[in-house]
Symmetry: C2
Subunit: 84 residues, 2 copies
Amino acid sequence: MSLKVMSIGTVKELTGLTERQIRYYEDRQLVFPERSNGGARKFSFEDVELLKEIHRKLKDGFHTFELRKGLSKTYDRRGGSARH
Amino acid sequence: MSLKVMSIGTVKELTGLTERQIRYYEDRQLVFPERSNGGARKFSFEDVELLKEIHRKLKDGFHTFELRKGLSKTYDRRGGSARH
DNA sequence: CGTGTAAGGAATTCTGACACG
DNA sequence: CGTGTAAGGAATTCTGACACG
């Protein structure tokens, strides 16, 4: 589902990341949540997978600016074929 | 997805229902959202479909207590067969 | 019965900043 | 660079109640 429906608190639980990390990844242009009228971020399930992938890459030594090009095509996660 | 991830505000947008209606349907035991630590309701996409179905049935003249048994098997929604 | 609303409180989320390194 | 935190404000959601019918 690519529908942006969950708030950062839910994403925090699903990903294990902190709000700080999630917001930072958005700041770095790696995820693009929508906003509610009040300004609250809304994420999709795809975003959740993407965020987990981002964090994994960062732990592997990558930097946010390196992930910006090509990661959005790679959040395959379940199969082997990255197809990038 | 049966993962309970969205708050009532999002459900309100997706269903077109008011918070009052959504809470009432829960009170009537027709939907079973989870709760966040703070007590906020969390709904799944399935719940969203169910809520829409509930509201449709009510408009058709059914009462909440009548829907309690058998609706969860009927949220067909896309086909025409009402099957009541 | 199903739904609207005003009421007050509690939890959530937001931004910008200082910090470390 | 990536992340932690304290700070104050704004938006969200909660419950119980009164209302109509």
